[in-house]
Amino acid sequence: MTPPRIPRLLLGAVVDPAERRYVLSDLEEEYEALSAARGRDVANRWYWSQALRSVPPSLGRRLRRRRRSRWPDRRWRGHALLGSLIQDARYAIRGFRRTPGFTVVALVTLMIGIGASTAIFTVVNAVLIRPLPFSDPDQLVRVREMRLEGNTLSPYVSPPNFVDWREQNTTFSYMSVVSGASFVLTSEQGVERVRGMSVSPEFFPLIGVQVARGRPFRPEEGDSDESRVVILSHGFWQRWFGGDPTALGKTLTLDDHGYRVVGVLPPGFRFLEPADLWTPFAIPAENRTDGMRGARYLEVLARIKPGVTLEQAQQQMDALARRLEGRPNNAGWGIALRTLHEDMVQEHRRALLLVLGAVGFVMLIVCANVANLVLARSTRRLKESALRSALGASRTRLFRQMLTESLLLAVTGGVLGVVVAQWTIAPLIRLAPTVIPRLDGVRLDGAVLGFSVGVSLLTGLLFSLVPTLLASRAEPGLFLRVAGTGVGRRRQRLRATLIVAEVALSMVLLIGAGLMTRSFVRLRGVDPGFAFENIMTASLGLPASRYESAERQSAFYARLLEDLAALDGVESVGATTNLPMSGSRMTFGYRIEGRPEDAADGRLVAEYHATSADYFRTMHIEFTSGRTFTAAESGGRTKAVVINQTLARRRFPGSTPVGERITVVSQGGPTSREIVGVIADVKHAGPASSPREEVYVPLGDDPWRFATIVLDVRGPEGGLREAIQARLSAIDPALPLSSAQPMRQLIAGWLAPLRFQMLLVGLFAVVALALAGVGIYGVIAYIVGARTNEIGVRMALGAGSGKIFRLFLGQGMALAGLGAALGLVGALALSRLVRSLLFDVTPYDPMTFLSITGVVLLVAGVASYLPARRATRVDAVSALKTE
C-alpha cells in the first residue's frame, strides 16, 4: 500500500532536501492509517490534497532561505541572476493575486489544454511509443503468408510451411507458433474454463523469458500431441496451488487429459493476452504433409538474429519463399514480416494520432486565448512598464519579467493539467474500445511528465512571445504616452488575428467531429443482413477425448438444439461454426462442377460455415431463392449446400444456381454438393465490410468440435445464460459454456472504435468552440471598453443605439466570418487525413460543412451580442467626461 506516485514525486521535489525523508515518511504513515480506516480512494484524495497544498509553503520557505543566503555568499556568479529571477517570480505572483479574474481564467484554460493533451498523450505513449516489455522487442516479428497477387496478407501460415521455414531459414534465431487456447479444467471443485496459450517449445527463449521454477518445454514436446505437459502462470500457481513449490510434478486435468506441471513463469509475465496455462503447440507428422500446405491457420512469431535488419530478414525470407513456391498450394504465395509492435498497433495508429492532432488544435487555441488575455493585461499595465523603463530598467530586464510571468503561469497550468490528466485517464480507458491493445499499460510515467513539462514550457513561450516582443520594442516615452489612452492599434490588430485563428482552428475540429458523427450514424444504420435484437449467442467447444467421432458430435448438437428449443421464451434455436461479427472465419476452396477451367488448384475460395437448418430462421437471414436444409441433408444422407448472393452473382450471373452442383473442400476432403438455396448477403466481418463469397453446409453433415448457439429470444434475457448452462450440463456435466452474450453486444464492439474517436474529437471540438467564443467575447468587450469615448462622441453626434449595436456586432461577426472561411479551407485541405476513418460519408460532405459553419457563426453572434449590447447602454455624458 504505497501512496500515489505523482504527488509523492511532486512533494519530494518541492520540500527542503534535508527534510524530504521525514515529510514523506510522516505523510506515508498517515496515508496508511487513513487507507486502512476509510479506503484507498479517500486516502489517495487526501494525499493529493496534502501534496498540492504543501507546495506554496515549501517553495516559499526555500525561496526565502536562498534569498537570505545570497548576499553574504557570492560564490557563484549565477546567484545574482537567480536572485533577480526569484524577485521576478515573487513580483509576478503578487501581480497574479491582484488580478484574480485574469489568473483564474488563464489557469483554467491552460489546465484544460494541458490536461487533455497529457491524458491523450498518456494513451498514445502506452500504445504506440513505449517499447514492448520483452528483450530487444524490435527483433520480434510476426511472420505471415502473403498472396503475391494484390499483396493480400493472410493472417496465418500452414503447418508444413512453418516446419520448412523453421528448418531452412538463416534469418531467425527462433520461430514459434502462438495460439490462444482454452481448456476445461476439471477438479474436485467442478469444471471451469481457463485461458491458456499453446506455443512451440522455442517460444520462451524467443521472447526472452526464463521460467521462475521448473523447466521450459523440451524441443521434442513440440512433435506430438501426447507430451501433456503444462507451464503455469505465476498468478495461476498462486491461485490454484497457493504458491506451493511442490506443485511441480503434480497433474492438472485439462480437457479430460492429465497434464504434468513442469514449470512456473515469473510474476507479471504475459504475452499480449492474459493466460493461466501454457502448453506446447505440437505439429504432428500427419499435419506436415504437402496436402496441408493450403491449410493456413497458424499464427507465427519469430526473433530476427541480432545484427540483422528487418529489410535483410525480409529479403532472405523472400528467397526462401521462392524456393518453396514449387510445393503444392504454394504457387503465388510469399512471406511477409512485420514487427510485432507494428502488427499490434497498426490499425489504431491513425485513429490515435488523429485524436492527438485534435488535442494539438485545442492546445493552439489555448495558446491563442491565453496570449489574448496576457495581451489585454499587458496593455493595462503599459503605464507600469513605462515607469519601470523610465526608472532605468533595461529592455532585457522588462522582457525577462514578462517571460517569467508567462512561464510561471504555464508551469502552474501544467501542474494543474497533470492533476486533471491523472483523474481523466481512468474514465478515458473505460470509454476506449477494448480492441485497442496495451491499454492496461496506460499510466503517467517519466515520458508523459516530460511531455507535459515540454508542452507547458512551449505553451508559455508561445503565448508570451508576441506580447513580450511588442512590449519591449516600444520606447519608454511612447509607453507613457500610449498608456494614457490605453489603446495600441497594433495590439488590437494582433488580438483580432488571434481570434480569427481560434475560430478557424475550432472550425476544422468541428467539421472533423461532424464527419465522424455522420459516419457513426450511417454505420449504426447499416443492415447487417441478420437480426441482432433479441438474439442471444453462446459458444462452446467439445473436448476431443469424448467427442472424437463425427457421429458423437452430430448427436450432441442435435440433442442440445432440441433441448434449447424447448426453453421458455425461446422462439427458435440454431448453431453455426462461425458467427457473424465474432471475428471467427474459415475459408476453403471450392469448384463448380461442369466447369473444368475452375478445377485449377485453389482458384475459387469461399468462407465456409457449418450450420444447423434452423440457423437462418433464427438469425432472420432471408432466402432469395431455394430453401434451407432438409432433415435428410442435415443427417448427411444427401449432400447439400446453401450459398450467398455474392457467390451466386459472381459465379452464376444471369442464371439461377439452385440445382447446380459444386464441390466444396472441408476437413473431410472435397465433397460434391447440390445448391439448395441462396441467402441474402450477411456482413460477416463487421458492418463496414463488403460481403465475400460464402458457402453453408449442414452442421450435422460436417460437424466441428466448436460451435456458437444462437437463440431468438422473446422475453427477458435475465437467467438465460444459466438456463442454457443447465440444459448443457444435463447432456454433459463436464462441459462449461465459454461465452454467452447478446448479438447486440458484438455489434456494439464493432462500432466502439468509431464511437471513441467521435466522442473525443467531438469533446475537443466543443471545448475549442467554447474557448473561441470566450475569445471573441473578450476581444469585443475589450474594444467596447477601449472605445467608450468614441461611442460617447458618436452618440452625442446623433448616432442611434441600433447603429452602435450593429457596429460592434458587425466587428465580431467579421472576425468570425473570416475565421470560418479560413477554417473551411483548412478542413478541405485536411479532410483526406480522416478519409480512411469515415464510412459512407465523403470528407467534403456539404451538409456537415454547412451546418458547422452555421453553428460557429451562431456562437460568434452570441459572443459579440453581449458586449455590443453593453455598448448601446453607454451614457454619452459620462463617457465624454472620462476624456
Binding site: 510522516d26 506515508e28 497544498r53 509553503p57
Partner: protein, 107 residues
C-alpha cells in the same frame, strides 16, 4: 524591533502543539493536533516550513529517531521547544491574554 519577536498565528499554533505534545511531537502528531483543535485543514508542507522558520529563530530544535524496529519502520524527526522557545511562547500568550482582558469575546 524586528518582527521576529512576535509570533505569527500559525507559528503560535505550532509552538502550542509542541508544548502540549511534549516528547511525542513529530510531523504527524503536530499536524493532527492543529487540525483537530482548529478544525482547519493543515498541510504537512506548512508544518515543516514553519518549524524550519522557528528553528532559524532558535525557538525550536529537533532530534531524529532511529528507524522503528518494525518492518518498513520509519525514522522520525521529533521537535521540541528550546529555552528561548518556551520564553517566547509564554511571552506571546501572556501578551495575548493581556490584550484580551476585559474584551467580551471570551467564552
Amino acid at each position: 524591533m524586528s518582527k521576529g519577536k512576535f509570533l505569527a498565528e500559525f507559528e503560535l499554533y505550532i509552538m502550542l502543539a509542541l508544548a502540549r505534545l511534549e516528547d511525542d511531537a513529530y510531523g504527524v502528531s503536530i499536524r493532527q493536533e492543529i487540525e483537530t483543535k482548529t478544525g482547519r485543514p493543515v498541510s504537512i508542507g506548512a508544518v515543516y516550513a514553519t518549524l524550519a522558520r522557528l528553528g532559524d529563530k532558535g525557538l525550536v530544535e529537533f532530534h531524529t529517531s532511529d528507524p522503528l524496529p518494525v518492518q518498513g519502520g520509519r525514522s522520525r524527526k521529533y521537535f521540541h521547544l528550546t529555552r528561548e522557545g518556551r520564553a517566547a511562547l509564554s511571552h506571546s500568550t501572556e501578551m495575548l491574554s493581556r490584550m484580551m482582558e476585559g474584551l467580551p469575546i471570551h467564552s
